[in-house]
Amino acid sequence: MTTTQDIHAPDFLAGDEFSIPTFRLLRQDGTLFEGAEAPTLERDQALKIYRTMIATRVLDERMMAAQRQGRLSFYMQCTGEEAAVIGAAAALDDADMIMSQYREQGALVYRGFSYDEFMNQLFGNELDYGKGRQMPIHYGSRKLHYMTISSPLATQIPQAAGYAYGQKMAGDGHCTLCFFGEGAASEGDFHAALNMAAVHEVPVIFFCRNNGYAISTPSIEQFAADGVAPRAFGYRMHVIRVDGNDILAVLSATREARRIAVEQNQPVLIEAMTYRLAAHSSSDDPSGYRSKKEEEAWREKDPILRMQHWLVAQGWWNDDEEKSLQESLRREVLETMKRAEKRPPPPLDSLVTDVYADVTPALQRQLDRLKTHIRKHPDAYPKGARSLDPDVSAQDDAANEGGA
């Protein structure tokens, strides 16, 4: 029941009364802010996080180049947002579900998705878990509890609330973390999700990457309010804004969010303030809508360099290790790309499987007709023709077509 106090004069509120602060621990030079305390972070995990950030950036740079060379149809980089994404993933239990938008490959790298697995999806070859059906960067992994990505924005947000409700019912102590950008937060599904999660008390962390732009639309044209974070008040939800380029702050905030989600069955909203250093995608050119000066200013806040300075100060990292890591990753990315490119496409039959649990008679008929057609024009359909059995002739197919 809504409870309210009476007033007797028309005193409007505009929400300007409060502003949400940004939680920060680490300065760009790798030292802590005064009074700031680093979260407990063992050397092994710190190095794992750092290597994940580097591995993600190397992957992104190499694959964007591959797209430019025409070897790949499409690509999207995580560049500039590695700390936000990887810091969040590092705060979770490995069995917690992650539901992503499309710029969070760093979380997958952190969980152990190999370069081979990335490449198989990017090139849509026969080893791609998604059987070559989706555009590049639409990854998914059941064993790593990473929900397959889809293009429609924000649809995963209410799904995350439902998934987390199921986790609560199962009582296994796990939660769901859902990534999305500040543009996606304008979709109706965002509101639906936060309201339902709050009403039904589910263990979910909504993680917003506020990187300043939705393609060409700056956030000032996305919302009039102070970012996305204040919306949590409207749902009576825990909320924190964090410096998304500060790995220690992201890690610390997400760990605490996970504790609230799992121990109290309460949803949490995290808004990570960051910057999309790269173009929106391989189909975008940001020079048409933002200044080089702005980009340069953010390049100086590079989250990877910030963590590197901190690691060096801890005595956990040095230039030689940096050089050798970069070199070995570049070599590995090239080798796996060559392997994946050479692999054949998925078989023709995979066109009609998984639409339903079983192939329907109507779909089987459509596939049979397609095979007959491809046998007549194999050169026009090289990917499909290669998986046809060469011993079966078109005439046999026609004879087997049957039916009235």
């Binding site: 059941r142 799904q159 987390a164 199921g166 986790q167 199962a170 309201n195 079983d358 008679p361």
Partner: protein, 325 residues
């Protein structure tokens, strides 16, 4: 065998499914303690607790998004959309998400546990937004199953089958029949097959195809036709996606004539799909044009509802014209 109306049969099916499997969860607007605006979920919260039968905030895209997530997690959500007219805010979640979940992930993930229940159809003075039959929007969506029962016995058997089906199912309930249709329904568990049409009545002169509440209307038209010596074969499609073309083909090969009838508007209606398929597969056997008796290509009107609807007289005249062609 007990007698039930369609609502009681649906309620009974939900009760059986929830008792059998803890993972079955019912939710939607007003389905909780109130038991739904039509009472389809009566007493389920009382019996299975608030965590398994609950009200949601008033947000259709949220209900289906939430249901998709629950199903992906391994639960068996039975989500209610209060009227089929209000399913469109969830269209994106159904068409782009539910229907494509298994395919796009290469079967890593699926929402096969999902069933969406929703009352549809006119004849209750519901005007534009309490009368619609949106099935054809969904039959254009690979990955979904669309099921429509015509009486209480079917409602229970098909709903249980839908809940247990490995694919997401849109279950359209003819609300005009919720209380009007009464019949014998076994108390025990049973299922009717999804994807199979049922030949309700055999005949040799003409085939009539429909589904849901329209079967009763077709039945009245057939009575009139039979009085004039026209032997009608009547087929209830029951599942619109994937639909049982073979049963209709077999019938039309025998009768040589076909009428398809539905409440939804003519243009883009599912009758068009049936007509095209049958002319392709039965071309040499057709003795008259395939006829579609449907709603008009207008929004669903209030005062002139009777004039709008494809009633038994319109179907009866179509039968006569087809036979005399």
């Amino acid at each position: 065998m007990p007698t039930m109306n369609m609502l009681q049969a649906i309620n009974n099916a939900l009760d059986i499914a929830m008792a059998e499997d803890d993972k079955v969860i019912c939710f939607g607007e007003d389905v909780g303690v109130f038991g739904g605006v039509f009472r389809a979920t009566s007493h389920l919260q009382e019996k299975y607790g608030k965590s398994r039968c609950f009200n949601t905030p008033l947000v259709e895209q949220g209900i289906i998004g939430f249901a998709n997530g629950l199903a992906a997690q391994g639960s068996v959500p039975v989500a209610e959309i209060q009227f089929a007219d209000y399913i469109f805010p969830a269209f994106d979640q159904i068409v782009n998400e539910s229907a494509k979940f298994r395919y796009r992930s290469g079967d890593l993930f699926n929402v096969g546990g999902l069933t969406i229940r929703t009352p549809y159809g006119g004849g209750i003075a519901g005007g534009l937004y309490h009368s619609q039959s949106p099935e054809a929007y969904f039959t254009h969506t690979p990955g979904l199953k669309v099921v429509v029962p015509r009486n209480p016995y079917q409602a229970k058997g098909l709903l249980l089958a839908s809940i247990r089906d490995p694919d997401p199912v849109l279950f359209l309930e003819p609300k005009r029949l919720y209380r009007a249709s009464v019949g014998e329904v076994p108390q025990e568990d049973y299922q009717l097959p999804i994807g199979e049409a049922e030949v309700i009545k055999e005949g040799t002169d003409i085939t009539l195809v429909g589904w849901g509440a329209q079967m009763e209307v077709i039945g009245k038209a057939v009575e009139l036709a039979e009085e004039q010596g026209i032997a009608c074969e009547v087929i209830d499609l029951r599942t619109l996606l994937p639909w049982d073309a073979d049963t209709v083909v077999e019938s039309v090969l025998k009768t040589g004539r076909l009428i398809v009838s539905h409440e939804a508007p003519l243009t883009g209606g599912f009758a068009g799909e049936i007509a095209a398929t049958i002319q392709e597969r039965c071309f040499l056997y057709l003795e008259s044009p395939i006829t579609r008796i449907t709603g008009l290509d207008t929004p669903f009107p209030l005062v002139l509802e009777k004039e709008y609807l494809p009633d038994h007289l319109k179907i009866f005249e179509a039968i006569r014209e087809s036979v005399n062609f």
